[in-house]
Every structure is written in C-alpha cells, then in structure tokens.
Amino acid sequence: MTQPLPMAGAPANTNLAGLAKNDYRGSPSTLCQGCGHNSIANQIVSAMYELNVVPENVIKFSGIGCSSKSPTYFLNRSFGFNGLHGRMPSLATGALFGDHTLKGIGVSGDGDSASIGMGQFKHVIRRNVNMVYIVENNGVYGLTKGQFSATAEKGLSLKKQGANQYMPVDICMEALASNATFVARSFAGNPRQVKELIKAAMAHNGIAVLDIISPCVTFNNQDNAYHSYAWGKDHEEPLHDITYIAPRNEIILEEEMKEGEIREVDMHDGSVIILKNLEKHYNPTDRFEAMRVLAEGQQNNWLATGLIYIETDKPSLIDMHNLVDTPLNRLQQADLRPAPEMIDRVNALMF
C-alpha cells in the first residue's frame, strides 16, 4: 500500500490534519521501563498521527490501575476522564452522548475489566458504545504490587502469591459472548499489528475490543508466563497480516501482499481492512469461527492474534437513540425547555 503523501506546501513532518507527531503525545510515562503499556501508548500516538485524527475529536477514558494511568501518556489535546476502578464503561457511555461526533478511546486493564469491572465491560459491549476499548492485559495487579488478576493462567506462580488455582478469564471470549462487533487480540511485542488494529478499531462504528497482551516487567515476566515477552514471542500465532487503509486512499497492494489469499473488510467510513491470510484461512466475519479459533488457542497453548471478529453493519448506541444533528451539549434553552404554553397542557394532563 502507499502512505498518504503530505499536502503540497505543508511541512513534511505534519500529517493531513496539519499536525506533527508531537501534537499526539502526552506527558512522560511514569510506568516501569519496558512496560508493555508504554509500547501501546506509543502505537496509539502513531496510529492517531497516521490516521490524521484531530485530537479534539477524541475523548480518552480509563478506570484504575497501571493501564488506566496511560491515557495521560498520549493525546494531551484530547479531553480525558480517569474514573473509578472498573467503571470506565459507564462513564464513557454517558460522556459520548455529550457530542455524538466524538470517538471514545478507553484504556483498561485485566483487573479493571475482567474482575471489578466485568459487569460494565460486558454491558458496554452489548450496547455497542462507539469507542475503542483497549485491555492492556498482563495477568497481574501492578499498582498494588503483584497479585493475580482474573486473566492469570491456572498454575502461574508469582512471588508472595504462590500458585494461581483458578481458571483464567478470556477477554476476547467474553467480548464475543456479549455480542461485540469488533474483537481483536494482539501482543505488545508486535507493535505493527497493535498499530494497525488500533487504526481499524478507530474506523469501526461501535465497540471495538482490543485485548493486548502487555507484559508486566516487574511482576509477571517469567519466560514461562502466558503474559511475558518471551512466551508471547514464542507462541504468537497471527491469524493474518493486517493492514488498515484509510478512506479516500487508493488501494494499491504491494507486490508481496498479492501473494497469498487476501481478504478485504469494508468499514463504515469507507476505509478498508486488508487481511492477508498466513498459514490458515480465517474469516473474521464468522462468529462461530471466532469462537473456535479462541478455543483452539486455549487448548493448544498458543496466542492467536489479529482481527478475530468484525461486524460492520450494527448500529452503535448513539445510532439507536436517533439524536439531533447538533451535538446535545450545544443545545440551548429553546431546544430543551418546553414552551410556556405547555405548562397548562401538562397541568391539564394531571387530574
């Protein structure tokens, strides 16, 4: 594919929105060096820059935990709300009604979404709220210093915690069970795939769940741990090679892409996701296939990554509410308060 060319006359280091990459950055990270979350924040910055997103058109959300700190580390020019533990989904659900032209991007963790916030996680999905929902998944509680999370694999041994006795929650499986319209899994050690999936998720109208395995270098990075860099590198099985093509860009496939089977997914906004199948043939629009591939990964102890499921024609929560064209938070008294004569009508409706 071709990258969009800068507009004539624009400085070479700016994108089509006229912004430099610095305009997408946030404050310096206060997470540990080598934390997978930092790598994801960097990919969010790159994806937004490459997508020519205007930062003011995005709202950032998070709950509580290491992952939930990261919205501070990207998109300084966007509004953000770092809320309560496990309650990011409800905040985002309400906030996105304020201006329906805005896109939400939420960053949560496995504790935030799969434990305390499991209820809200599943309900924000079934409502198809128009947001990217990233779970930075490391199997461990970092800020409280190394307790098991609900996504930790059975048998995992952690310092001071002993061995985990319980079965793990599979974020993607839960998302699918809740009728998510976009489900993807990636690995922080595969930055290109993370970035392309974020771009595709941004183009999706509705909820886009990204379960990104993001190793915790301080508390859970032993070579044999499911959420470690070493294990991920050895066991990652990408379902396909994914490339996101923005709207209006002519699709010119590079030579190497033409070899092998190509699948195109047309997005709501005119963009296209190009999936190049690798060893297996995988159809991400087949929900049954998606369930199977996740179960297969669990059974065979491999990390299936890529776009697991997508459904592009379902209305988002905002679509279902048939709102006026003007953003609700721009409406004035004339739009909101019934006329004075209505008070008599209302009183007449009482007995």
């Binding site: 205007v54 930062p55 003011e56 058109n57 709202i59 950032k60 919205p71 501070t72 300084n76 020019r77 966007s78 509004f79 953000g80 709300f81 770092n82 809320g83 309560l84 309650r87 989904p89 409800s90 905040l91 985002a92 659900t93 309400g94 906030a95 996105l96 009604f97 304020g98 201006d99 032209t101 805005l102 209820g119 809200q120 309900h123 409502r127 509410h321 048939n322 709102l323 006026v324 064209d325 953003p327 609700l328 938070n329 721009r330 409406l331 008294q333 739009d335 909101l336 308060r337 019934p338 004075p340 209505m342 008070i343 209302v346 009183n347 009482m350 007995f351």
Partner: protein, 624 residues
C-alpha cells in the same frame, strides 16, 4: 344522629394485585373533584399478588389531610385481613364487607354493611368472566356513592381519566358503580353519620404523584440524559421521563434532544449520568436508598472532580432491603456526607408535588452553577401516592448553565485558563466540555489529586488549597439553594423544624398544639442543605426547637446540632420511623413528650393558651 360532614377517613383492605387501585384512585379523585380536600395513601406490601394491602383516604374540610390514625370507614374485601380490618374501625364507624367472606362480625358499636360483590358482578352480562374480580372492586365505589354521597358524575370523570377516555372499560366499570349504588339504595339503611358534601376547596388544584411531578419538572429543566436502574419506589420517575419526553420534547424532524438509558445497575446508572454531566449535558439518575449506597463511590468522585449531576433518592425504609414499599426519611445523614474522605452534599428537600416539579428543573440549575452533584430527597409517600397540589408553575428563571467556556471563550482568553482556578473568589471554577475544538480547551479529569490546571499532583499544599476551595464553594451554595418555608403562629413559644412529606402532619399538629394544648408553635420546613440564613434566624428565636422527622435516630437533628452547636441544648428530636406516612398524632405526641412548659421564645412572653393560635397555621396551610 348528627351528621359528620367531610371529616373522616376511609380505609380499604384488599389483596395485593387484585386491581383495587383503580377503585381506590377513583374514590380519591371523585372526592377531590367534589371540592373536598383529600389525600390517599397506598400501604402496600413488597409482593406482586396475594398479600394484604390497604389504601387509606382522608377527606377533611379544613385541609388537614395527613394520614389519620383513626379509621371511621373500613371496607373489607380480603378474607385474610378481615378480622384485623373489622377491629380497626373506630367506635361509631362504618364497616363494609364483601358478603362472600363468611367470617363472624362480632362488633356492635359500629354500623355494618354487607355488600353482594360477586352476585352484582355476575349478574352483569357485560362483564367478561375474567374481568369479574377487577370490576368487583367497583362495587364498593358504588355502595359508597349511595351511602356517603360520593358524587356519581365525579366518579365518572375519575374513571374517564383513569381509562384515558376509552369507552369500553369506562362503561363496564361505571355500570357496576351504578348497579351497586342502586342496590345499596334499595337494600341498606344508613346507620352511621359520615357524609360527603360538595365544597369548593380544591378549585384550581391538581392531583399528581411526586415521581411524575419530578420527571415533568426535569423535562422543563431541559433534561438531556437520564440513566436509571429499577427500584421501588423510584422506578416510576424514570418511567415518567419515558412517558412524557416524546411529546413534550417533540421535534418536527422526529429526532431526539435527550437519551434515557436503563443501566445494568446503579453503579452504571450514576456512572453514565456523571459521564454525561461531565460532557455538558443536563444529566440525572433516580434511585432509592440501596441504589444510592451503590452510587456512593461515584458521588464522591463527582464531588471531587466537580461534575454536575442530579440524583433523585425516593426514600424507603432501610437499612438493607428494609421495608421496601414503606416510606421514610432515613437517607438524610448518609446523603449529607456521601463519599469517603471529606465531602459536603447539596440536598434539596421537596415537600409536595409542586416542589417536586420545581426542584426537578431547579436542581439542574444548581448542579450546573455549582458544578457538583445535587441530591433531591423525596420519599415513597410523595413519590408514589397521589397528592393534591397547586398547579405546576413554569420556571421563573432562564436555564442557568453555569461557568462553561466554549471555543470562542478560550480563544479570547488565548488559552490562558485553568480548570480548577478560583477566578471569581466564590470557589466555583470555569469548565470546558468535550466537543470544544479549541486546542487549549481540553483537560484531564481525575479523582486523584490535581492542581488548578487539572494536572496530577500529590503535593500537600496543592491538595489543601483545592479542598479549601471546595469548602468555599459549599459556602457559596447557601446562596443558590431554596430557602425554607415558614409558618408562623402569633405568640409562638416553640419552633418546629421538619422537611419533606411530613408538612401536612406537622401543620395539623401545630393546630392541635395551639388549640388543644396551649402551645403556639412556629414551623419551619427546611428545603435544602446547606442551611440558609433564614434557617439560622429561625433557630435563634426559640429555646425549644422540635425537629420532626421519619427515621429512628433523628438525622436532621444531628445535622442541626453539628451546624448550630450553640443551640444544641434547644434541639429536641422527634423522630419516628415505622414506615407509614406521618400522622398528626405522632407529631403531636412526640412534641408533647419532650415539651418543657414555661420556656419562651427570645424576646417574647411565654405562651398562653390561645384558641386562635393554631387556626392561623391551618389557614396558612390552605393558602399555601
């Protein structure tokens, strides 16, 4: 036998789910339409079908319509509560019962009237067999029409209203009413003194329930977002939003200026409401005590992050599931400092239907002006029962949106603003909302420590400065919240403080204290926390101030004692929470039990017995 006109209570005992509410509301509305002041209280169990339930109506020519502890007329439709219902009739009263209940009627000090309910309903071929039990309730409406003078035309008007003009159910029910009235005329002899006669004391008034009133007020306040989770007795508030928004906010293009979302729980309901409030919408949620408990963490966040949101708590009896279908004023102390750490709440306390409506819109103004949660504490008695009321008044001020900076404002300020800066010295900062496209408009909202520019900070001095500003903002709030309503009595020796749904009971008790006990009293009804200057001035006047409320521990009494420590010895708690709507009897007896004779109000002579004293309060109550 002297007639007793327009001054008695009627209680109907039925089975829950038997369809008696149509009949009971019909009696209530018919009396109201006859011009007689009236109230109706549904005393129902937490049950869908089968358990005993009561509906008690009080008609009173002088406007004293608090629930009465004395039942002059009792109607028994339920064999399970028959004995209890029979025992509850006041001596000299009247007892009506469905004659298919074959239980002994042992009392001789009351008038007893059997009613052939089943026979009358079966003999009407116009009533399908599966409607017989429902329509059977109309038999007691018809019998009362004949026996106490309940006007048939007003009954018809009430039925037309209830069935929204649908002719078939109106006719079916009204035919039964007429048949029962005719039967009573031919078969019963009046042996009791209780009689209704038309008056003109409800002219210009309406009848409504508090949840509907609150929803309508919210709509006139421009509500844009509501999230809720079902809970008795608050559910009908959100349901009324759904009922009325489509017509009251109808647009030609058919699109919506609002969204109502039923959440998965109260955690999510308030989360959504706070998200919407944060992004600049007039946002609300409605719940009851258990739901409010779940909302606590979020309420604390909204206080500290300074997010406007309106939270209605239609109170019921707690702790825990408590008495979920009974009324209380038990969430006041909890709400006052809801959240962990230091927090102060803005609480509005409506006392009737017109105020449920008014506070419905005003709460948004206050929340947006102060950028903080506003709690409105109603209760089951107001929320779910039909009350007489002055008509709803159109808001007398334009919508107050508070200090919001839009794109051009930030441009004018050249981006030089801080989310938590106290520019005006009133503790209220300026805010921006998402959708503002100015590159300097955005800020990051968090529950963790933050400086005046919304940047993360754990600095001790930054923390203290912000907390002090929040306290200052709470002081400013005293100028924004509704002032109390004060009822004065000449030469009052004592003060009474109450709030919410107990007003009718307190006014009646004030009348009795003045006329029967020689204790003229002034009564202040608090309508908001924090207290305004008017409350301070009132409290300063008396050596004895009775604080009347429906809970066990005297929660308003506690708050007053903390806020006015110098008057702590003057406050006397009259607290009683049995789940029933307040009666004048418990107010009066509670006050008498703690009253110390011979005290005086500051600068006034000690009270003397004055028969006129109480009357003026009653007159005021009517005029209000």
């Amino acid at each position: 036998m002297d007639k007793v006109v327009n001054d008695f209570s009627i209680t109907v005992g039925t089975k829950n789910g038997s369809g008696s509410s149509t009949a009971n509301n019909t009696i209530l509305r018919a009396i109201f339409k006859m011009g007689i002041p009236v109230s109706g209280k549904n005393l129902f169990p937490s049950n869908i079908q089968g358990l005993p339930t009561w509906y008690t109506i009080r008609a009173n020519r002088d406007g004293f319509i608090a629930r009465s502890d004395v039942q002059e007329i009792v109607i028994a439709m339920n064999p399970d509560s028959f004995a209890r219902d029979l025992a509850s009739v006041a001596a000299g009263g009247a007892f009506y019962y469905a004659d298919d209940i074959k239980q002994p009627v042992t009392r001789t000090d009351i008038a007893v009237y059997p009613m052939p309910v089943k026979q009358l309903v079966r003999s009407d071929p116009g009533i399908p067999s599966d409607f017989r039990d429902l329509v059977g309730n109309m038999v007691y409406v018809g019998v009362l029409a004949e026996m106490i003078g309940l006007d048939l035309e007003t009954i018809h008007a009430a039925l037309s209203f209830h069935f929204k003009g649908k002719q078939k159910p109106i006719d079916m029910n009204f035919n039964t009413v007429k048949a029962a009235a005719e039967w009573a005329k031919s078969n019963l002899t009046k042996k009791d003194p209780f009689q209704l006669e038309p008056l003109n004391k409800t002219d210009g008034l309406i009848m409504a329930d508090g949840n509907t009133s609150a929803a309508l007020g919210s709509i006139f306040g421009g509500v844009q977002f509501a999230a809720w989770y079902p809970i008795t007795p608050a559910s009908s508030l959100a349901e009324a939003l759904n009922d009325y928004l489509p017509s009251l906010r109808k647009r030609e293009d058919g699109k919506h200026t609002y969204a109502v979302v039923q959440a998965e729980d109260e955690l999510a309901a308030i989360g959504m409401a706070i998200g919407a409030g944060w992004s600049g919408l007039r946002s609300m949620t409605s719940t009851s005590g258990p739901g409010l408990s779940l909302m606590t963490e979020f309420a604390g966040l909204a206080y500290y992050a300074e997010v406007p949101v309106v939270i209605w708590d239609v109170q019921r009896v707690g702790p825990s599931t408590g008495l979920p279908t009974r009324t209380a004023q038990g969430d006041l102390a909890f709400t006052n400092n809801i959240g962990h750490g230091d927090s102060n709440s803005i609480i509005l306390l409506p006392g009737g239907m017109d105020e449920c409506f008014e506070f419905g819109w005003r709460a948004f103004d206050i929340a947006e002006q102060l950028q903080t949660p506003v709690f409105v504490l109603s209760d089951l008695d107001m929320g779910m029962n039909q009350w007489m009321s002055k008509p709803f008044q159109y808001p007398d001020t334009p919508m107050q949106r508070g200090k919001v900076l839009w794109d051009k404002d930030i441009e004018e300020l050249k981006g030089n603003w801080g989310r938590y800066l106290d520019n005006d010295g009133d503790g209220i900062p300026y805010r921006t909302v998402p959708g503002n496209r100015h590159p300097m408009s955005a800020y990051f909202t968090r529950g963790t420590g933050h400086d005046e520019h919304a940047r993360y900070s754990e600095d001790a001095s930054v923390w203290l400065k912000n907390m002090d500003r929040l306290k200052k903002k709470h002081e400013t709030a005293r100028k924004y919240v509704p002032v109390p309503v004060i009822h004065t009595t000449p030469d009052a020796a004592v003060g009474i403080v109450g709030f919410g749904s107990t007003e009718a009971a307190i006014l009646e008790a004030v009348h009795q204290l003045g006329t029967e006990h020689g204790i003229p009293a002034d009564f202040l009804r608090v309508r908001a926390l924090p207290f305004t200057q008017e409350v301070t001035d009132f409290i300063d006047k008396y050596d004895q101030i009775f604080v009347v409320e429906q809970n066990r521990d005297g929660q308003m009494h506690q708050i007053l004692t903390v806020d006015y420590p110098q008057k702590a010895a003057s406050f006397k708690s009259v607290a009683f929470g049995d789940g029933l709507p307040a009666s004048a009897k418990w107010v009066r007896e509670g006050i008498l039990a703690k009253y110390t004779p011979g005290t005086r109000s500051n600068g006034k002579h000690a009270a003397k017995s004055r028969s006129k004293a109480g009357k003026s309060a009653a007159v005021e109550a009517e005029q209000k």
